[in-house]
């Protein structure tokens, strides 16, 4: 495309990551699914970890949902959940199998699902 016509400044090329360079890739994504493993929590577990375990009794939650429910920053839930995963008290599952990301078939199913939501 030719130069900017509007009043919006150009994005300098050196700032563009092209959607790939993510320097600090988090281990647990916001949409990583957390579920209780069913193992008995050992005595002396920190209160915050217990609170997260408790929230998972009713079913699975994403990191984001757990943060909203516990009123904690996402960064804190990541730390809590990682600790519980290390103790095998919580299972963590990636939001989508890596190979399926950007799969055209997945996108088509999203579009079909959205279309089905209309007119009801």
């Amino acid at each position: 495309m030719t130069g900017r016509r509007g009043g919006r400044p150009l994005v300098p090329a050196y700032l563009s990551t092209g959607g790939v360079a993510r320097p600090s890739r988090p281990q647990l994504e916001r949409l990583t699914v957390l579920s209780g493993s069913g193992e008995l929590a050992p005595a002396g577990l920190p209160a915050a970890q217990l609170a997260l375990l408790d929230a998972l009794r009713g079913g699975s939650l994403t990191v984001m949902e757990a943060a909203a429910l516990l009123e904690l920053p996402v960064s804190a839930v990541r730390v809590l959940a990682a600790g519980l995963v290390d103790r095998s008290l919580v299972l963590a599952r990636a939001p989508i199998p890596p190979a399926e990301r950007f799969d055209p078939d997945l996108l088509k199913r999203v579009a079909d699902g959205l279309r089905a939501l209309k007119h009801n």
Binding site: M1, R4, R5, G6, G7, R8, P9, V11, L15, S16, T17, G18, G19, R25, P26, E29, R30, L31, V33, P46, A48, A51, R57, G58, G59, S60, L61, T62, M64, E65, A68, L69, L70, E71, L72, P73, V74, S75, A76, V79, P95, I96, P97, E100, R101, F102, P104, L106, L107, K108, R109, V110, A111, D112, G113, L114, R115, L117, K118, H119
Partner: protein, 202 residues
């Protein structure tokens, strides 16, 4: 079952059928209609997290310690739509100001794309967010929310020029208060993702 489903739970837990979780960012300046759009289509009451602007790592020993931290925070709204076949679509309301850059990068990780909302009363308020989206390389569509007190009418041509959109970038008019209108805006984005040729990230 020890934990029978009941109306006392807020319905926040994931359905057992949930298999593939995907997200789309609903991005735009303050007051443009991000929460309204998410609310109009979400199956759960929109939730939010409080996010620190600087992603400093804090030791987490107990809840109180974390809550007491006084730092500048911003609320990130999100909603959820369960689609047939185990797909769960999350919508993340994302403020687009330049000072949210670090947060933006964290939130946009793994997103399918962004729907950028533009306020008809102040188009230039969306320049920052358009810059952030382009830098992150996320594919996007633009939804123009028309407000009754907008100063003047814009033709699509004028809007595209003012926002400096690529010819292939979808631009739709949207009323975020209307579910069908919001779904149409989301569909414009998803169709754009399908049509991209060739897909940039595979």
């Amino acid at each position: 079952m020890a934990y029978a489903p009941s109306s006392t739970t807020s319905g926040i837990h994931l359905p057992d059928t949930a298999r593939e979780l995907v997200k789309i960012l609903i991005a735009g300046p303050f007051g443009v209609g991000k929460t309204t759009l998410i609310d109009s289509v979400s199956e759960i009451r929109p939730l939010h997290t409080e996010e620190r602007l600087s992603e400093a790592s804090v030791p987490v020993d107990d809840l109180d310690g974390v809550r007491e931290k006084s730092t500048t925070t911003v609320a990130i709204d999100f909603g959820r739509i369960s689609l047939p076949g185990g797909i769960v679509l999350y919508l993340f309301g994302t403020p687009g100001q330049e000072r949210f850059r670090a947060l933006w990068e964290d939130i946009s990780y793994g997103a399918l794309g962004a729907l950028v909302l533009v306020d008809s009363r102040r188009i230039d308020a969306s320049f920052d967010v358009l810059g952030l989206v382009e830098e992150s390389g996320l594919p996007y569509a633009v939804a123009f929310n028309s407000f009754p007190d907008a100063p003047r009418h814009h033709t699509e041509e004028q809007l595209r020029a003012a926002l400096d959109l690529e010819p292939g970038t979808p631009l739709v008019t949207c009323d975020a208060r209307d579910a069908n209108s919001s779904i149409d805006a989301l569909l414009a984005l998803v169709q754009h993702l399908i049509d991209r040729d060739p897909p940039e990230r595979r």
